[in-house]
Symmetry: C2
DNA sequence: GGGGCGATGTTATGTTGTAACAACCGTACT
DNA sequence: AGTACGGTTGTTACAACATAACATCGCCCC
């Protein structure tokens, strides 16, 4: 049996690949769905992918403004709404922040691991978890819709770092 | 084998019992922990228990003010912080709202069912869910801390109501 | 060219949460 | 009694997050 890889990317991975892959996948998915990935929306998606740390709407806004883009809160929130609608971005409720979806192809009820040390968030797409939730809820007569699952803790890299101290 | 009861109280239950039980349990737990359940904190807890619908901090604030209590946002947030600290109240991240804990005796990583029809939230304390999350996360090298699990859907009562239409 | 429509710009405002400091209040020690 | 202390509450100001409402733009179609 294989150990699942860490949900977090290596600290030294080629992040430009992440960004390229995300933008390519976004283009493809929008094309397929007949949605318009305008240059503003594309740019916001790219900014969300600046790192694997969830980013707040106003941080995106500041960046856009610093680039000379005319921007106000609705500018950013509308772009984010679109990206979330298309499944390209997820919102982290605990953080009021947004993170790019690494697997926008497949629709999923995302679960997130949030490292309190490095601030990164990783998506955990574990059917067993969704299943356990569904089972527990339905056993009590509750009809399950959207699930919000966000787990704080320490990623493998940060555990190592802290141990060495 | 028994079917677990619905996590939601019956629409016709004696809610005053809920409130009394919650306040009694709070007194006991604070006593035991050496924490001071002041009259303000007690009143805020009682207000949180006004119904099984999560309530926003500013709604609590308005009520306090309408009762002649000197109150500003910190008044409410400090009381809520205390109550959460003592495990008497939980915060629902998706709603930015607060709900009383029905079982403050036992510490637990709470999971919530939120009915989008009636607005009520119920606590689901299913060890299998926490276990599944822990397992999925740890298999990927993530050390689990606090879990946030909030499930939107329809409670049994509201499913019935909607079907009859 | 004009009408329709989705995207974006703009202004204003609503909602949620916190920082910082002052005042108060019980308790314990003198 | 006086007084020093720590925890609670009052008060003011502000920060952070989000949306309503309406104007404008640009494109496609007729
Ligand atoms: Zn990356
Ligand atoms: Zn980390
Ligand atoms: Zn009740
Ligand atoms: Zn319901």
């Amino acid at each position: 049996m294989d150990l699942p890889a860490s949900a977090f990317p290596s600290p030294v991975h080629d992040h430009q690949d992440c960004v390229r892959a995300a933008l390519d996948a976004a283009e493809a998915k929008c094309e397929q769905r007949g949605a318009r990935l305008t240059s503003l929306r594309r740019r916001v998606l790219e900014l969300v992918w600046t790192s694997h740390e969830p980013v707040g709407a106003y941080a995106l806004l500041d960046t856009l403004k610093s680039e000379g883009q005319a921007a106000a809160p609705p500018t950013v929130y509308r772009a984010l709404d679109f990206l979330i609608e298309q499944g390209l971005v997820h919102r982290l409720e605990r953080l009021n922040a947004f993170v790019g979806c690494p697997r926008p192809e497949a629709s999923h009820s995302a679960q997130f691991l949030i490292c309190t040390a490095c601030g990164r968030a990783a998506e955990l797409d574990d059917p067993a978890i969704g299943q356990a939730v569904r089972q527990g809820a339905e056993a009590r007569g509750f009809s399950v819709g959207r699930q919000t699952i966000e787990v704080e803790g320490l990623c493998a890299d940060c555990q190592g770092t802290l141990q060495k101290k």
